[in-house]
């Protein structure tokens, strides 16, 4: 197992280097002068511009800027935003909020996704199966911002159940509505994956054997069917959590959640290259780590998988 973890970590290095280089290059190629943008309507003197360029290393060639940035990562220095705040401290204040939002959404989508998928799969062809399938098709077709606006209008403006925007400190109760929106994007996929997987597992010989030796449905369904159906679902949730950090951009914008998504979007609009790259790098790192964890979770869920190579 240790050997496997080592090789997976080794594989992640070139991907991480390539990803940061690619993004850093794209940001570097952006038009517009960020220094001029800093001053707004005022016109800075040539000396001021020069001093700021020097301070942010904008005069150096691209590859030097990239290496400087990359070296910084290893010592925990992710640069400063153009407003003078260290990127790392921006991350520290925004990441927990996004993490809480994502966690809440993850719980919602897992519970409803697996629950409805199991129900649907066990009643294959029945009325509840057809209703759940139609519902999931509808959810897949609705873009996340459409769901966000519809729910914001109905649940906040009309019914007043939730607050329309997230308040100071982002309390859990305010995060509920954005989390539901974030979860709807994936819940349909989880329902379908779980359904297909449950149908396949339920047809296996070992399930017949379990029933044959007199076990009750109450034991066969959770222990034999559900546990063996979870692998594709867990894989999906793993990749989904990485994507979710970004899918949050739209949701956090609409509900004014003070998280990474909103900060990131603002940074891109202001051409804050280093801020963008730092945020993306952290996200990609997280994505790679999560996928590694998911790979290792396989072994726990499915004893047939042994990483002995």
């Amino acid at each position: 197992m240790a050997r496997y973890i080592f090789f997976r970590l080794l594989q992640a290095i070139p991907v991480l280097l390539g990803t940061t280089l690619l993004i850093y290059y794209m940001v570097f190629a952006m038009p517009g002068d960020p220094i001029l943008a800093l001053f707004g309507d005022k016109t800075p003197t040539a000396a001021q511009i020069e001093a700021l360029r020097e301070q942010y290393h904008l005069n150096e060639p691209f590859i030097m800027q990239y290496l400087r940035f990359l070296g910084g990562i290893f010592v925990g220095d992710l640069g400063t935003t153009y407003s003078g705040q260290p990127v790392i401290s921006v991350l520290q204040s925004t990441f927990p909020v996004t993490l809480r939002l994502a966690l809440l959404a993850l719980i919602i989508e897992t519970v409803f996704g697996i629950g409805l998928g199991l129900l649907s799969g066990l009643r294959k062809g029945g009325a509840s199966d057809n209703i759940i399938l139609a519902f999931s098709l509808l959810l897949i077709s609705l873009p996340i911002f459409v769901i966000a606006f519809v729910l914001q209008y109905l649940l906040s403006f009309q019914l007043g159940i939730f607050r329309a925007t997230v308040g100071e400190g982002a309390p859990w109760s305010d995060l509920m509505l954005p989390a539901i929106v974030l979860a709807t994007a994936s819940v349909a996929q989880i329902i379908r994956l779980a359904r297909t997987s449950v149908i396949e597992t339920a047809g296996q010989d070992f399930v017949r054997t379990a029933y044959g030796k007199g076990l009750s449905r109450g034991r066969v369904i959770p222990v034999h069917i559900l546990r063996n159906s979870l692998i594709p679902v867990v894989t999906y949730i793993g990749t989904d959590l990485g994507v979710m950090m970004v899918g949050a951009t739209v949701t956090e914008g609409i509900f004014n959640v003070p998280g990474v998504g909103r900060t990131l979007f603002q940074a891109i609009r202001q051409s804050e290259g280093p801020t963008v790259v730092s945020f993306v790098t952290v996200m990609v790192l997280l994505y790679l780590i999560l996928n590694l964890l998911i790979d290792l979770l396989y072994a726990v869920l499915d004893p047939r998988i042994r990483y002995v190579k």
Binding site: G18, I140, S141, V250, I268, S271, V284
Partner: protein, 318 residues
């Protein structure tokens, strides 16, 4: 001694040919068209309601995209601030936007934007995915390693994020349908390439490939004539579904404000423009959302019908 002269001796009973299983051999009509994956899939598709519904919807969307004038005579950019957020009235069925433009007309004229972005991205993703997937799956070795790692890099950057970064490089007036399609497609191809690569690696081990090799066909001919036609089915499925994804991506980027400029009619732009007035005139936002969702639904339904038809395993599951 020929068969016709053969007479069994006493004590040997020989059943008449019609009563033996051999009759089935004679019953096979050689004129009958051989069935294969594609004819089976078509047979399956023809019987599906969802296939015909999605096809009808897509046809409608296509006609609206090509001939918007047939559906409305109101110009989408003829706006009168006196009508700001006005409700439905004769000739302006769906009311007006905050700028006083006709909502219905804007939806009709925005159709072609979504459809063209969808098509361009799909062609791009299919081509890139096909080339990279085929090369890395078929040739294997270090070529595969290099291409797969390159694909991993593109794959680990979520495509909306990448598209935001790319789109920000262009000034609003330089952004158009081609630029946004390129921005989306550039990071969407690795999943297609992965699917094709896996499928080719599976097909490569089949006996008929060994036969093709043994009669001396060149590698390239084997790839084009034997490997690709037998591994393209899952790629077609993922391509159909990616069309829906591209339409959503365009709308999302335009909604966020890094998509198409406001001079180009786009559902995403209209939804973005209507969001500030959600509380007072929600329908201005809901109508383009419905158009967007129905179009996406049509392509997803088509993609899923094709997937189920092309996958014998999925057929058995039902």
């Amino acid at each position: 001694m020929s068969n016709s002269n053969y007479t069994p001796g006493p004590g040997h009973y020989v059943a008449p040919l019609e009563d033996t299983p051999l009759a089935a051999v004679d019953a096979v009509s050689v004129d009958e068209k051989p069935s294969n994956l594609w004819t089976d899939a078509w047979q399956d598709l023809r019987g599906r309601v969802s296939f015909w519904i999605s096809l009808a919807l897509i046809l409608l969307v296509a006609v609206v995209a090509i001939f918007p004038q047939l559906f409305t005579s109101v110009a989408p950019d003829a706006c009168d601030l006196d009508n700001s957020n006005g409700g439905s009235e004769p000739g302006h069925l769906l009311g007006f936007t905050m700028q006083g433009c006709d909502v219905y007309s804007r939806i009709i004229h925005g159709t072609s934007t979504s459809v063209s972005v969808g098509l361009i991205v799909t062609v791009l993703v299919f081509t890139l995915g096909l080339v990279f997937g085929a090369i890395s799956g078929f040739y294997g070795g270090w070529v595969d390693s290099v291409l797969s790692r390159a694909g991993d890099i593109f794959f680990s950057i979520p495509y909306i994020l990448a598209a935001i970064v790319i789109m920000s490089q262009f000034k609003a007036e330089d952004r158009n349908v081609w630029v946004i399609s390129l921005a989306i497609g550039l990071f969407a191809w690795p999943s297609t390439a992965r699917v094709l690569r896996a499928e080719i690696i599976r097909v490569k081990q089949a006996d008929f490939i060994t036969s093709a090799k043994s009669i001396g066909l060149s590698n390239f001919k084997i790839l084009i004539r034997h490997v690709l036609p037998n591994s393209i089915a899952p790629v077609i499925v993922i391509t159909t579904l990616s069309l829906a994804g591209a339409i959503v991506a365009e709308a999302t980027l335009s909604y966020l404000g890094v998509g198409l400029p406001t001079t180009i009619m786009s559902w995403g732009n209209d939804i973005g423009a209507a969001q500030d007035n959600l509380r007072n005139s929600p329908m201005t936002l809901i109508y383009p959302s419905i158009a967007l969702s129905v179009t996406v639904l049509a392509f997803i339904m088509l993609g899923e019908a094709v997937r189920d038809a092309l996958d014998p395993k999925a057929r058995a599951r039902r």
